[in-house]
């Protein structure tokens, strides 16, 4: 099997995101603004 030297950084990136969010008193403050899934859903006519 071929193996890439590049590592998957996804979980590291998730840690970085969580490190920001966990300092919030209300996670919705940052999740709704940063990721804004409600707006994404509307803009992209999601799913």
């Amino acid at each position: 099997m071929n193996a890439s030297e590049e590592k998957d950084e996804t979980l590291k990136q998730l840690i970085e995101m969580l490190e920001i969010v966990r300092k919030e008193d209300d996670v919705r403050n940052i999740l709704s603004k940063t990721f804004n899934l409600r707006q994404i859903a509307i803009n992209s006519k999601l799913l």
Binding site: M1, N2, A3, S4, E5, E6, K7, D8, E9, T10, L11, K12, L14, I15, M17, L18, E19, V21, R22, D25, D26, V27, R28, N29, L31, S32, K33, F35, N36, L37, R38, Q39, I40, A41, I42, K45, L46, L47
Partner: protein, 264 residues
């Protein structure tokens, strides 16, 4: 996704493909919105809307509600999503234990976030077998007369240690309990995840027009955790329908065929 994967990970009913489900804000109509469809989670959703951020002000209250409650199938037919959800009778979580007090509750899926599993398909054989990484573990599943190869994400151990130290991590999957427990007992023998939630803890969303169904997660069911302190990490957009302000859509950059795998 092959048939066996659907059984283990997404329940025993045919899966609604994402492409078949469309939100369409252009086709919102009040008739759908005004339907009376009580749900245990609906009150919390309304609360989410009340506290929505200012940059969402262009979205009217009724439109947002209608969007969340309406899907449009491939034929353009409106369906009220809550009218197609089965009610869950006993899904709950014990109160937060002392060691987690004050922490955010982090609801995490298993497959595709922590790891990938590959279950050979009896019809298609091993054609999807990953090319770029050796599997980390082979799990025998005699109950299903098959087995699974597990491919852990890079930095999995580091990630588990991080969430253990900083969150109340709860596994929330749409998978079958037997399958999920087998895998979790391997990767989490010390129970970093104090609780595991399975497909029986999800709503069952039925798309009547296509005679299909999909499990749908709802973190609002667990009312003994503050809505301010709950995050749903999710790779399937359908699952943040119920709690968009508490969700992080997880972009999947990890697949069987790309070259983001590391050598073992």
């Amino acid at each position: 996704m092959n048939f066996l994967k659907r059984i283990f990970k997404r329940g025993k009913l045919p899966t609604v493909t994402e492409s078949n489900l469309k939100f369409n804000s252009q086709k919102l109509n009040n008739t759908v919105f005004n339907r009376s469809t009580p749900s245990s989670s609906l009150e919390v959703i309304e609360d989410n809307h009340v506290t929505k951020s200012s940059d969402q002000s262009e979205i009217s209250e009724s439109n947002a509600n209608t969007l969340l409650r309406t899907i449009i199938d491939s034929e353009g037919k409106h369906e009220d999503i809550f009218s197609n959800l089965s009610q869950i009778s006993n899904s709950s979580l014990p109160d937060q234990e002392l060691e987690y007090k004050g922490r955010i509750t982090l609801f995490l899926p298993l497959d595709e976030v922590l790891l990938f599993s590959y279950i050979p398909d009896e019809n298609l054989g091993m054609h999807e077998f990953p090319k770029y990484k050796e599997y980390d573990y082979r799990v025998e599943l005699p109950e299903y007369k098959t087995f699974a190869f597990l491919y852990y994400r890079d930095y999995l151990e580091e990630f588990l240690n991080y969430i253990d130290a900083n969150f109340e991590p709860i596994l929330y999957t749409t998978g079958d309990q037997l399958y999920v427990d087998k895998i979790m007992n391997l990767i989490d023998p010390n129970r970093i995840f104090p609780y595991r939630l399975y497909n029986k803890d999800c709503h069952l969303f039925k798309n009547s027009s296509q005679n299909a169904a999909e499990y749908l997660k709802d973190i609002n069911l667990f009312t003994n955790r503050s809505i301010k302190k709950k995050i749903l990490i999710e790779f399937s957009p359908l699952n943040f329908v119920i709690s968009p302000d508490n969700s992080n859509l997880y972009s999947n950059s990890f697949s069987y065929t790309d070259r983001t795998f590391s050598s073992k």
